[in-house]
Amino acid sequence: MRSMKSVSRNLLAVAAAAGLLAACSGGSSGASRVAASRIVKIGIDLPLSGADASVGISTEQGALLAIEQAQKKGLPGGFTLRADPLDDSLQGVHSPQQGASNVRSFVSDAAVLAVVGPYNSNVAAAEIPITNAAGLAQIGPSVVSDGLTLGKAAANLRRANPARNAFFRVCTTDSLQGAALARFARKLGFGRIYVIDDNETYGLDLANRFDHDFRRLGGTVLGHDHLAQDTQDFKSLLIKIAATKPDAIFFGGVTSTGGGLIRKQMFDVGLGRVPFIGGDGIADLATVAGKLADGAYFTLAAPNAERLPAARAFLKAYTARYHEPIGPYSANAYAAAQVAIAAIERAIAAEGGAVPTRAQVLAQVAATHNLQTPIGPVSFDAAGDIQNPVISLYGFKNGTPYFISQSNLTTK
């Protein structure tokens, strides 16, 4: 009886091997064309539960707002525009596996014409090969790792279809932001800086780039430390830093992974007067640090928001809709969704009101030219990065950010 059973199992294994051979040589990937309906969708893939909800939800809300507004205004051809948001946290941790699974389900839904997301660079690295193979346009609001669009690493991600680029991002790369931060830090007169990062994809890459460029510009990096996860106590590290008497502390990371608490705890160890600098991840520093945020600086990959009408309108609409302050990447996600919506609308118009294909939408995303968004005009270069990015420096006064200066960066 048992041998019968194991025979049937062996048969199963043999048949699986046969099926595998057929699967390898076999043809088309999923996307079965459902009968053309009048619904088009934008997939959103972000971490929405657990630890990453602190940034994921406010980012999602930015994208949802753009989609709601576009739907209210009406699409050409009478199409209905829907958002399809999926959570890429698994058990409360952002997961490349869940992200890849979500994007595969977008690919299999013929109504999805573009994807906004993800939040984390390593999730993007798992997703880009899939959207690349499917020719589905994907726009990242916040993923800054260089290797997603540039160099050999990016070429590796696109190996299924090397001639095609389907991934774009409205943020800059960490190398541009890190370099700009290093220049700002020198301009602010800092000579000796202690570098900290949160040991996550965004923070580590940004801090490494800053570290490198700050030295190149003649500054001294007193030390470079990485934070522990799952802790509230950064005083131990700060006591160690205080002994080095830095001009400033650089932080690569976001407010919720330690930025806010570090700023507060600097006051407990006598570093309260030492300036604190970081990237766009600490734009919302005051939500945790309050007035103690004064003396901190951060950059945004956008022109001066106070002078940008689109930014003011966005801020007003966002707070009216959600009754809470924007998150660090809400505006980016709004802009990313705008890019997708504008491309879909142009593709519909070009088709004379018929359902556009993904290839047409992708071509329109690539052709995005001077689209007015809350983070400035958006156009893409061949790699999918934003053209002529502007990076602005902000400081805090009474817990509110104020604009200091901006620098225009030419793309590589």
Partner: protein, 303 residues
């Protein structure tokens, strides 16, 4: 030397929070053999309750004199009481039914309860870290060249006072004796006329109230709280309970302080990214050489 002392004091302050949480873990484990994964979230709940009470009292900044004593006292006792009630409810609704079930079943409900509490707090105060009012004036005294803040005195002092009170309670009262008896042999305790359900409920009440105290203390100390804090703190506090010898109250305190000190020194000497590795590596080594924890007794095997 100066930095050594500063790190030591920091480690003790941090450790006193772990110690308070570890006490609840160890009490519950001792009496029903359950790793109560939701306990870390009860600690976070404590800081949320304190925050809410301070909000009701209108305390948004530094307090002085009688206002400090009254508001802080209300927040502290309120948080402890509410957490205690939450603990009793959790035991009643999620664990009691499973007391005679296969031993891993309540472990899974504890994990489920932990997720439910985290989500509830996320919905209550939002997914981002929430600022906690800096109610305590924070002058520092300098001892041997090291600045010790009033906050640190309060944190450590409150923790030690709470622990002493607990020791007195467990060893000096009837209820405490019932708790120890139930922990040792539930069936025998029942035969001796001890109300097991009541005793277990009291254990949850006290353990969770201590987590509430820890929540208040951490709020005052860090001036920030976050719905997800309990996960990391709970894990380390549980580690502390095991390190000290699970079921042993003095061991839990010792373990808590040790974990805090190790974390502080590892961050200083090895870098923050290695602090968790150091904590757990020391745990593994300690258990290899002292299999029942630092203060745990080697129980004779049941035959």
């Amino acid at each position: 030397m100066h930095e050594f002392l500063a790190q030591l004091i920091n480690g003790i302050s941090l450790g006193s929070i772990y110690a308070l949480i570890a006490l609840g873990y160890t009490m519950v484990y001792g009496i029903i053999g359950l790793i109560n994964f939701a306990h870390g979230d009860v600690y976070t709940l404590g800081s949320f309750f304190s925050l809410a009470i301070l909000g009701l009292l209108g305390a948004t900044g530094e307090l002085h004199g009688p206002a400090l004593v009254i508001d802080a006292g209300l927040a502290l006792f309120g948080a402890a009481l509410l957490c205690g009630i939450a603990g009793v409810l959790i035991e009643r609704l999620a664990y009691r039914r499973l007391r005679n079930a296969p031993r891993l079943a309540p472990l899974i409900t504890a994990i489920g309860v932990s997720f439910i509490l985290e989500n509830a707090m996320q919905v209550w105060k939002g997914p981002s870290p929430v600022p906690f009012p800096a109610i305590l004036p924070n002058p520092a005294v300098t001892v041997a060249g090291v600045a010790i803040s009033l906050q640190q005195f309060v944190v450590v002092g409150l923790a030690i006072a709470t622990m002493l009170a607990l020791q007195l309670f467990v060893h000096g009262t009837r209820v405490g004796r019932a708790m120890r008896a139930t922990a040792q042999d539930r069936d025998a305790a029942q035969l001796m006329g001890i109300d097991i359900n009541k005793t277990i409920a009291i254990t949850f009440l006290i353990g969770s109230a201590l987590a509430g105290v820890a929540g208040f203390v951490s709020g005052v100390y860090y001036q920030s709280t976050w719905f997800f804090n309990g996960f990391g703190a709970g894990l380390k506090a549980f580690t502390a309970a095991v390190l000290g010898g699970i079921g042993n109250l003095a061991g839990a305190m010792l373990g808590g302080f040790l974990i805090g000190i190790v974390e502080s020194f590892a961050t200083w000497l090895l870098g923050g990214q290695w602090s968790n590795v150091a904590v757990f590596a020391i745990l593994i080594l300690a258990l290899v050489f002292r299999p029942s924890g630092l203060l745990g007794e080697t129980l004779p095997e049941k035959v």
